[in-house]
């Protein structure tokens, strides 16, 4: 048989407000699967042109696939969301790049012709499932020195990056973190952020029902002075603080992907067009550098150069790790193409969910930036990987000419 690839488009993305992990967080008594259910139902409500039975796959990422993040979450969440029983689903895990991998994997299925429409997303309830819950590392990792022991502690890997790139100082990291908080606050005030949020009813046995409508982690009052006084929990007199890293968070994201011809047939919006992607491994103890080679690979495979990219949505697991990326590509720390609406240092990073937050945010920026043709979403991944996805703006003014 002969076959041709199909273009894949990002139709729409939504997410729950992000919460702080822990007993005082907004989602302290809310289940992770319920967060995913809200996201799936909202995607369908916002896109009434899509018949539910046209969804061909539901891929949901979670790093810790236990309890309410287990039980083949993509399938159970689909059932709980009321999708027809004929719609299949699965769980997927690439630590922080889980949702991003859910997107690339289902998108590849669409391009290949196996699916027309897919839902991809991720969740991490780090309050209910702290990072590393239930892990059982193989003793060979230590006995054969396969991986530096610090590789399993993400904060330590960030300190290791400071060692590797001494010119990426704590001061630069703090300045970048402050800018993230400020950009986020500004975008929120200007109404750029918010429409993509799905309100979530949150129960508290002590206080009754509430509703999460805004992100809990941002600290708009952050100052450089304040940042400079924070403890460095991973190393005495180190560089990495709670202020220049993303926090421990709860949240879920989801997006609708479709073959471009199917989106047109059904009358679905087209937010972005998938250009290509790359995943590359690096030494686990400096996992934060991962986006550099993954971006190199994605650019090489798509025939683009870094100069073609007009907008960057980079996950801010740690400020130093974004700085390492920018430094490599010769981009200024405060380049306005980078995370213009702030990043994970402000809004939070519920591990496996974050990839789709980056995409959703990029898609919304595309809508108001016809001058930009290409954008890039990238993130570092625990155990030493980078993930990069390149997107094209369907609203690019060049198409009209």
């Amino acid at each position: 048989m002969s076959r041709s690839l199909r273009e894949v488009v990002f139709v729409d993305g939504v997410r729950t407000p992000f919460g702080k992990a822990g007993p005082k967080g907004i989602y302290a008594e809310t289940r992770a699967d319920d967060l995913v259910v809200r996201v799936i139902r909202e995607l369908l409500r916002r896109n009434p042109a899509l018949p539910a039975d046209r969804v061909d796959e539901v891929a949901i990422a979670a790093t810790t696939q236990i309890g309410d993040q287990g039980l083949t979450l993509g399938r159970t969440a689909a059932l709980l969301a009321g999708l027809p029983k004929s719609v299949p689903g699965y769980s997927i895990d690439r630590m922080c790049a889980g949702a991003m991998t859910a997107v690339t994997t289902t998108a590849s299925g669409i391009a290949f012709g196996a699916y027309d429409v897919a839902i991809a997303g991720g969740v991490e309830h780090m309050g209910r499932h702290p990072m590393g819950e239930g892990v059982d590392p193989n003793p060979r990792i230590v006995s054969e020195k396969l991986v530096d022991p610090s590789a399993l502690v993400m904060g330590s890997t960030a300190e290791n990056l400071h060692d590797r790139f001494p010119h990426l100082t704590k001061e630069r990291a703090d300045a970048f973190a402050l800018a993230s908080q400020q950009k986020f606050a500004k975008a929120l005030a200007n109404g750029k952020l918010g429409p993509e949020l799905v309100p979530v009813a949150t129960r508290s046995a002590e206080q009754g029902w509430g509703v999460a409508t805004v992100d809990e982690p941002p600290r708009p009052q952050t100052t450089l002075e304040g940042l400079s006084t924070l403890k460095t929990p991973f190393r005495p007199h180190g560089h990495v603080t709670a202020g220049n890293a993303a926090g421990l968070n709860d949240g879920a994201t989801g997006c609708l992907l479709a073959a471009e011809d199917v989106a047109l047939e059904l009358g679905l919006d087209v937010g972005m067009r998938l250009v290509g992607y790359g995943f590359v491994g690096v030494e686990p103890e400096v996992m934060g550098v991962g986006p550099v080679p993954s971006t190199e690979r994605a650019l090489a495979r798509t025939g683009l150069t870094i100069e073609d990219i007009g907008l960057f949505e980079l996950n801010e697991a740690f400020a130093v790790q974004v700085l390492a990326f920018l430094d490599h590509f010769g981009i200024a720390d405060d380049d306005e193409r980078v995370n213009p609406w702030g990043g994970a240092i402000a809004v939070g990073h519920p591990l496996a969910s974050s990839g789709v937050r980056l995409m959703t945010q990029l898609s919304r920026q595309f809508a108001e930036r016809p001058d930009v043709r290409y954008g890039l979403t990238a993130m570092c991944v625990g155990l030493g990987m980078g993930a990069t996805v390149i997107w094209e703006n369907p609203n690019w003014e060049g198409f009209a000419k």
């Binding site: 009321g82 309100p199 979530v200 009813a201 046995a205 009754g208 029902w209 509430g210 509703v211 409508t213």
Partner: protein, 695 residues
């Protein structure tokens, strides 16, 4: 200041949070009703719960800026299930009763009178006072899996925290009569959410998955005018006909013996004046009066006693052995393939989902029995109650066999053959020769001695009585009969099977006719003998009306079947010749092959005339006195004989096995409050305050 206090009240706390929502200008004060337990202990309102709601509304009133709306919702799966009735036994004076009525009205009315729009988000079950709270709100949403209802008339109360006034003025009087009267008196039927929304009890229906979010979004729409709530005009001309219908239902179901049901209709009638301020004040004052009177009445106290028996004692049978002793039942044999046996097989296969083998003396009967069960299963499938796969599974589990060899690997064999001791003994002997040593042998006898039936077996300790009531699928009672040698493992297995069959089990001793049949036979015997001595049938028929029994004595006879009644009567006469007569009338009915004393409703069969031709007729009152006196005497004897653990078991049996109404408290409460027990037996059955007003 509230002075009413319920000791040990499980307090439903009204927790307030001020929440925002996209599109909302300002905040919504969201109240959550939560008693701190999970859904198995639903939230209710006692004095402290009402005070908490009152305080929550104070908190909201004091909040600045004022919220855009007030919304009330419940803990997961439960909105609220009404007044806390567990504290009622402690209410000893009228002033306290009135205060409970008035406090509910006062607090709930704050939601109706609020200048700020009020919403109820009915997220789960809303019964009685819970539904009344919702009805006081200006708007309501309901979750797809919720259900609403007013159990008050069923319990002998009125929906007296505004329900009788608000509901008819929201959904119309006819629907209100259905919900408040008809459904309550039909085993307390609840209205599922989609129906409730259709009737107009709720303005909007949302799926459970995101019910609260959608409700808030809807409320925001109502507040900004983008959602319009349209409710049909209430048809005032419908009142008379609907009230008449309500009265007919109450008369038919209770013979007007339950004041709560009668008063509910009175209050619904009053609601025709509407629910503007003045009319509502008058309507709720009438509700206060009704609630006060009913709370301070014996029938209500007896109802609550019955309710408690059915909900607590029925679930933890007195005298049952340790559950852990029960043996696993993986296959059941049924001896006999007649109607009773077939009904049993149907129940067993449906609930236990294990192989059930029917045997009988010839292939035709066996085939007929299996065909009956298959036919009943088909009917369930046609009504959508069984999936095609389940139907295949259950049909495949029911087989017939001419040989009892098919019982070889059964764990339980139930006999439902002809009521003749020698036949039953032989059946058990044959079965014992085939089954394992631990297989439980059960008899469904209604009047024979289980001990005697087991006497000749090698293992008499494995024999137990399982006395079901006809129709087996419907009546919830199972009398579990412990014979002299029955061991604990056998008994525990019997209780476990009963529970799996969703029956309420009561442990009874191996005494003639056990509990229900003994009392009904005694009672019916007295009425029949009154007729035989010349009391007109219609007088005897009316004699028990003040009790509000589900059927008249001769209707009962038709239901039981005169042949069965005669069999039991004869057996009782053998056992207790002084008290149980076998009337000529009953013999004649059976000889003539009749199923009723009537040839058509109200017309006594002329062929029975000479059996009913005595010359010392009694009045209704005399018939009643005699029948009730006989019941009291028999109950006292049964307690002395140790037929049950306590009189509560007898009451439970009469409620569940004979369908006797709650307001009689089984029957002992009624015999106590009418003085019959003291007159006939020298003392009450229950101390004052247990199923009656305290002393």
């Amino acid at each position: 200041m509230s002075t009413a206090v319920f000791e040990n009240e499980v307090v439903t706390t009204a927790m307030v949070r001020f929440v925002t929502y996209p599109g909302l200008v300002g905040e919504i004060a969201l109240i959550t009703l939560d008693n701190g337990h999970d859904h198995t202990r639903p939230s209710t309102f006692g004095p402290a719960g009402l005070a908490s709601l009152d305080a929550a509304l104070d908190e909201i009133a004091a909040h600045s800026p004022a919220p855009a709306a007030i919304a009330v919702t419940g803990k997961p799966f439960i909105f609220a299930v009404g007044a806390d009735l567990s504290g009622v036994p402690a209410v000893t004076d009228e002033a306290t009763a009135r205060e409970i009525a008035e406090t509910g009205h006062r607090v709930f009315r704050r939601l109706k009178d609020s200048a700020i729009p009020t919403f109820a988000f009915v997220n789960g079950v809303a019964l009685g006072g819970g539904l009344e709270l919702a009805l006081h709100c200006h708007y309501r949403t309901i979750s797809g899996t919720a259900a609403v209802g007013f159990p008050e008339a069923f319990l002998g109360l009125v929906p007296g925290w505004g329900g009788t006034q608000l509901l008819p003025n929201l959904v119309g009087i006819d629907a209100a009569v259905t919900v408040i009267v008809e459904n309550a008196l039909a085993q307390n039927k609840m209205t599922p959410a989609p129906k409730a929304a259709k009737l107009g009890i709720a303005d909007a229906l949302f799926e459970p998955a995101d019910f609260l979010e959608r409700s808030l979004e809807w409320a925001v729409g109502v507040l900004d005018g983008s959602v319009t709530v349209s409710r049909p005009e209430v048809d005032r001309s419908a009142w008379d006909a609907a009230i008449e219908r309500g009265r007919a239902i109450v008369a038919g179901r209770t013979r007007n013996a339950s004041p709560g049901a009668v008063r509910s209709v009175d209050l619904l009638d009053l609601a025709r004046a509407g629910v503007d301020d003045e009319a509502f004040t008058a309507g709720t004052a009438a509700e206060d009066d009704a609630l006060t009177e009913l709370l301070m009445s014996d029938p209500l106290r007896a109802s609550l006693y019955s309710f408690d028996l059915v909900n607590k004692r029925a679930k933890r049978p007195a005298g049952a052995p340790d559950k852990a002793l029960a043996r696993k039942v993986g296959k059941v044999g049924v001896v006999g393939a007649g109607l009773m046996a077939s009904q049993l097989a149907m129940l067993l296969v449906r609930q236990l989902k294990v192989p059930v083998v029917l045997t009988d003396i010839d292939q035709v009967r066996v085939d007929k029995g299996v065909a009956y069960v298959h036919g009943e299963l088909d009917k369930l499938a046609q009504r959508g109650r069984l999936s095609a796969d389940k139907l295949n599974q259950l049909k495949g589990l029911v087989t017939g066999s001419l040989s009892k060899e098919a019982f070889a690997d059964a764990d339980l064999v139930i006999e439902a053959v002809f009521e003749e001791m020698s036949v039953k003994q032989q059946v058990f002997a044959e079965v014992e020769a085939i089954v394992s040593e631990t297989c439980v042998l059960a008899t469904n006898t209604s009047a024979l001695s289980v001990t005697e039936m087991a006497a000749k077996l090698e293992h008499p300790e494995r024999v137990v009585g399982l006395h079901f009531f006809n129709p087996v699928a419907v009546l919830p009672l199972l009398e579990v009969v412990r014979a002299e040698q029955t061991d604990d493992a056998t008994l525990a297995t019997a209780f476990a099977v009963g529970r799996s069959l969703k029956k309420s089990c009561v442990l009874v001793a191996d005494a003639p006719a056990f509990v229900v049949n003994r009392l009904l036979t005694r009672f019916l015997g007295e009425v029949t003998s009154a007729v035989e001595q010349g009391t007109p049938v219609e007088v005897a028929e009316r004699a028990l009306d003040p009790l509000g029994l589900p059927m008249t004595p001769f209707e009962l006879l038709s239901l039981v079947g005169p042949a069965v009644a005669l069999h039991v009567a004869e057996r009782m006469h053998e056992a207790f010749p002084d008290r149980f007569a076998v009337g000529e009338g009953l013999r004649r009915i059976v000889e003539l092959g009749r199923t009723s004393v009537f040839v058509e409703p109200g017309v006594v069969d002329p062929e029975l005339a000479d059996a009913f031709a005595g010359d010392s007729p009694l009045t209704e009152e005399q018939v009643r006195e005699r029948a009730l006196g006989a019941l009291a005497q028999e109950i006292r004897l049964m307690l002395d004989e140790g037929v049950v653990q306590a009189v509560q078991d007898i009451d439970l049996c009469m409620v569940l096995g004979a369908g006797w109404p709650f307001w009689l408290g089984g029957i002992s409460a009624y015999l106590d409050r009418t003085g019959v027990s003291e007159r006939v037996t020298g003392s009450r059955f229950l101390p004052r305050g247990v199923a009656s007003l305290p002393a």
